[in-house]
Symmetry: C2
Subunit: 152 residues, 2 copies
């Protein structure tokens, strides 16, 4: 079995969109596996982190910050509410909304997930020394920010 039998064509090997994709797949596999230990998914972490940094908010507002669709948010909030990591309460000022608030247990879980995430990033970027990692983050940030309007 030729070891080079799996080499992709030149066209694909240096194609930025494909490289980004491959890297993302690897990253997701690593991060998902780390989170699986704690029985959570990526969006759980995103939601808890947003709640902790910005305080209580409506589901729609949380969706805007995390990039999670309103309709998907429902199930995620259900999920974390069942585990008592956050609380869902009707907003008395605006009865269309729910106010979502992180609990103490939620903060503890978040701290735990922070450690898992950090380890996962380290595994993901193991090939790069610190300076290159910062460089990569900078480049990706510029690319992402440039396409900031969600559906452009």
């Amino acid at each position: 079995m030729d070891a080079a039998e799996g080499t992709p064509p030149q066209r694909l090997r240096t194609l930025p969109s494909r490289l980004t994709n491959q890297a993302a797949q690897t990253a997701n596999r690593i991060v998902d596996q780390a989170f699986a230990q704690a029985g959570v998914r990526r969006y759980h972490y995103s939601l808890l982190a947003t709640l902790e940094e910005y305080g209580p908010a409506s589901q729609a507002a949380l969706g805007r910050r995390t990039g999670i669709d309103r309709s998907d948010m429902v199930a995620i909030v259900n999920d974390l509410a069942e585990r008592r990591l956050l609380e869902r309460a009707p907003d008395l000022k605006d009865r269309r909304r729910n106010v979502i608030t992180i609990t103490a247990a939620g903060r503890e879980q978040l701290a735990h997930l922070d450690r898992l995430v950090a380890a996962a990033q380290d595994e993901f970027l193991a090939a790069l020394p610190a300076a290159d990692r910062r460089n990569l983050i900078d480049l990706l940030t510029r690319v992402v920010d440039h396409h900031a309007d969600r559906h452009g």
Copy 2:
């Protein structure tokens, strides 16, 4: 409507795995849209490119080069065979296999797709000057290569 209402939390904003993911989503949206003009998908391009660069091969071998699963390869080859962009013939030397060969029309289509892909990359990386693009490609290549064994 606060313009900063969509700002993700700090934890997520610089998280390499998430940045990579966001960039990949953007790239995919742009590339998919470009390919849609030609009525093809990403894997069609991958397959045609592999065939052109490495010559005829079995479906399984093509799967190893492109990263496409054997089972998914079947439908893709069906698709491109119907459009006469490639030909599927039984391998007389090994009757388990099919030999897949790109046609002249396939090469023409590939050349067209090459142009679409190039334009899509340019749009994807519009925020970066050429030197930074090379830098990004280099960094991503190192990350991807480091995790080269598919399911590590």
